[in-house]
Symmetry: C3
Subunit: 296 residues, 3 copies
């Protein structure tokens, strides 16, 4: 009998996410075990513990998933886990805190597709502004876009401090520069929009980031994408299922559920890779982006 | 391959109940995931999280179970969960805190059967006194009986205060009146028994509620049912497996394990409904009562 | 359809051990449910809860596993669980805190095999010193050896106090005497080695217990066994996979991974017994020792 696929699901929060449990089981894991309130310093022991109890062939059918609500912490845990692995007992690792890595991958991939097909442009060199950049989706979207060669501005609603620290963290970890910007006032939000070609809206649920007036003022805006599915939506005029629909301002809108569909497929697909791969995987938002591209 | 049946088991307590885990797995759930120390305000997010990650057809094979030790809190959680559901992503919900809803359903259904078959009477209009009414089983039994049209008195061992609040809560939530009564002294316990036709004993394990003398004094008592399986049992003279056995006083006794057998079948059956239903279910003690009736 | 095998995994620690989860699933359990931060006084309720929800035939396919990091507490929990069981609803119990019971069983069984085959001796009457005796592996190894009739000395690195209490606890629980000894200074460690024939090293990972000089001084030493797989290893000159390899001093070395292989087989085998036995089991380090013997 083949070894069962076992997923150890580590969350930094009080509860494991039922969303991720369902996804993992539907993707082929036979068993999912939750570990909650996990701290970074506990990761090494948990990973080694998970690794050494199965023969190398079965170790491949063992996965560790990192949940929570903090992109940087999830990446740190992924790094700690990777360091803890010892050949040939390697197991697969996947981080997707709050579903943000797969959501970000899906959003940027969708933007790339619309940009390429309808505007004949690439992400490389595109001027991208990320609203809600201090959140988990915003963080990951900014890094993915920057790694593709876009000129990325990350906007902080609470002023410059947090996004400045974040830009430094991103440069240190990924070797790419992003520009922090103050978006605490609505005129700053609009001024930033006017200077960019693509707006990625990753604000909190139920918060409108860009109004029709903002969009009308942004003459060079090509695309506005939004991941907020709770009314009011993040970009006025962009509907949930829009896949590059032209707005009155001429920019093309991509809606939250259009992105959400790709996000589901991406998360499901990455879990599926864990249960079928013949070598150990280490999956973060970059792999989510790569898979989302192939799904579009 | 058919979607696996996944049960997210939420408890307000520190530990999930192994009893309920076993029941759920034996009823056909493939996967059971515990969530502990869950609070009411966490329910909406957990339910939506569980709901949105599967296609509507698979969502049907997704269940949420509410455990704990508080009937009112479990009902509040069930309400919060139901409000959180969005068509067509509906999932099934089942509350059975401390096994009390299925125990209460089984007890009242058993009483009804004996009452009908041996006394030619119905629950409607029957005078029922519930001892241990502030507990989870007592609460649910009182509501079930009142909804069937019985005249129900709920007895508090710690005086009138808690049962008075409880009667108000029951009227507000279910639109039925029950009468609170002070049972803090043994003569009150007996006086209440004398005035009623049916006694439902849902006191703590190992506590005798009614003595042979109490029973002898209760000339109009038709049935005494008990859910306490730990000696001393709740009603003197009623044995664990009694299914309407006549006591010296003439009343008919129903014992804890006779009720327990129906309770097992009821809880198992409700879990089974969750794994097989073609529409989403919302199950509480009323559904337990309906199923228990059909099992008797 | 046969009843599924369900394992309720109780840990006294914050997290269940992924190692044990993997082992249990690979041994045939269909479902594993973690319960964490479990205290001794919660065991009775959890065990009875697990026991009463399945028919006796299915109860046999229900197991409770005791994890954590404390041998005495695990034994107390096992005792509490055994007392809570009621015929015919018996379920199987297995304690292996920190993997220590199976590790200890494997180490002592390996020592016995080498002692018998290469030295023509038995454990009975052998003079055994246990280093790291206050740890979980050391505790269990000392008891197993003493129950086999060895003359066992348990060495405390922090002085005599803890090992003295431990010797009293062992005599009270198992009816065997072991001798406590102070090993807080390196000359004491060596002096104790010189007086014994077998050294069981169960110190912390990465701590060398015995140097080549210690071994050279120990003229009557027959065997030195070590369970520390993290360099520096516990016994200088004994390699990870050594299975009775002669050291310069003439003693035979048994290494941590040689013992580890038997430990894996032992833990897997005990879980397998739980999923296949036709009577309820209660498994501790004595059963681990018995199984490890049969695997060598």
């Amino acid at each position: 009998m083949a070894a069962k696929s076992i997923l150890h699901m580590l969350s930094t929060l009080k509860h494991m996410s039922p969303f991720d449990v369902n996804m993992a089981i539907d993707a082929g894991f036979d068993v999912a075990i939750p570990y909650t309130n996990v701290t970074l310093d506990e990761v090494t022991a948990l990973v080694q513990d998970a690794m050494f109890s199965r023969a190398p062939s079965a170790a491949l059918r063992t996965g560790i998933f990192f949940a929570g609500r903090d992109a940087v912490l999830a990446l740190d845990m992924l790094d700690a886990a990777e360091k803890a692995l010892l050949k040939p007992f390697e197991i697969s690792l996947f981080a997707d805190p709050y579903g943000s890595f797969t959501t970000a991958g899906a959003m940027v991939a969708f933007v790339e597709k619309v940009l390429r097909e309808k505007k004949g442009r690439e992400l490389k060199g595109a001027k991208i502004v990320v609203y809600g950049a201090t959140g988990v989706v915003g963080y990951s979207s900014a890094v993915i876009a920057a790694l593709e060669g876009a000129e990325v501005t990350i906007v902080g609603y609470s002023g410059l401090d947090r996004v400045t620290v974040q830009a430094e963290e991103i440069e240190k970890r990924f070797g790419v520069k992003v520009t922090p910007a103050d978006g605490s006032k609505s005129e700053q939000v609009r001024a930033l929009l006017v200077e960019h070609e693509i707006a990625l809206c990753a604000a909190r649920a139920g918060v409108q980031v860009l109004s029709a007036e903002d969009l009308a003022a942004a003459k060079s805006l090509l695309i506005a994408a939004d991941v907020n599915a709770v009314p009011p939506l993040g970009v006025e005029g962009v509907k949930l299922h829009d896949k590059g629909v032209e707005l009155p301002s001429g920019a093309l809108g991509i809606g939250a559920l259009a992105i959400g569909d790709i996000k589901y497929g991406t998360e499901a697909g990455l879990f599926k890779q864990m249960t079928t791969s013949d070598k150990p995987l280490r999956l973060d938002f970059r792999h989510a982006f790569a898979l989302a591209r192939s799904l579009l």
